[in-house]
Symmetry: C2
Subunit: 131 residues, 2 copies
Amino acid sequence: MHYSIRQVSEQTDLSEHALRFYEKEGLLPPIERSPSGIRRYSDEDMECLNLICCLKNTGMSIRQIKTFMELCAKGPETLKARCEMLREHKGAVEAQIEEMNRHLIKVTHKISCFTAQYEEYRDGCNKGMSD
Amino acid sequence: MHYSIRQVSEQTDLSEHALRFYEKEGLLPPIERSPSGIRRYSDEDMECLNLICCLKNTGMSIRQIKTFMELCAKGPETLKARCEMLREHKGAVEAQIEEMNRHLIKVTHKISCFTAQYEEYRDGCNKGMSD
DNA sequence: ATAAACCTTCACGTTAACTCTAAGTCAACC
DNA sequence: GGTTGACTTAGAGTTAACGTGAAGGTTTAT
């Protein structure tokens, strides 16, 4: 099966602009063309894009994704390096999530502070207004 | 107690530029000045900055922080709105973390795939090399 | 008195990730 | 043959957030 850039754009939530951009930047291998130069994405290309989106969604930069995809293109002797890169990336993302959680605790604390202040203030306003 | 901009910069990990910038942008109330115009940060200002950093660390934009701090400056009748804003922000951050975790699962899966491929490849290379 | 630390204003820088423009090609239909 | 519309290219422009830098002047500390 082959797909036009429009179809790929719809399936991946990447704009056609972005797809050409990724190809130009070397994130994707050069896409097969029809005799008249029109891109024909293969299922293999779709898998690459799936992986790219996965990395992108976890905040990997275009530059790093490029490095990773270049390893992919070099064949199986880079499999170990790829595993290492992914594991490192995973660690970084996990660290980021942990940091977020730590900061979130502070926000939660602030919410308690403001909530307590609010209740105090509200009760102050209502003083002697009941019965 | 009062602090110079330098001291505050060191305590908060914000540059002096950033401190002036935040004040200009209205994230901070106008800071008290010495007769000659030099900023003297109070403990209250430090608390504001603490809150600002807290929001900033969880990814709140400068614009939103400004909105929040303006509410703070308006006094206790905005306490409820402030609580709501913080809770909403917290929800957004939590959602973001959840999304990250979802994406991370995919990365983990990819790692398994590559690891399996790598082991297969490595074993293939070593075929007949033992005994 | 001299050097560090502070002040203001305004323009400019940085990074990332596109996105748009202009000019052109190609295939199909009328 | 002409028009439409989807595609191509290279390269410039955009957006957004977040400051940073430089110039030029004042104040404070030793």
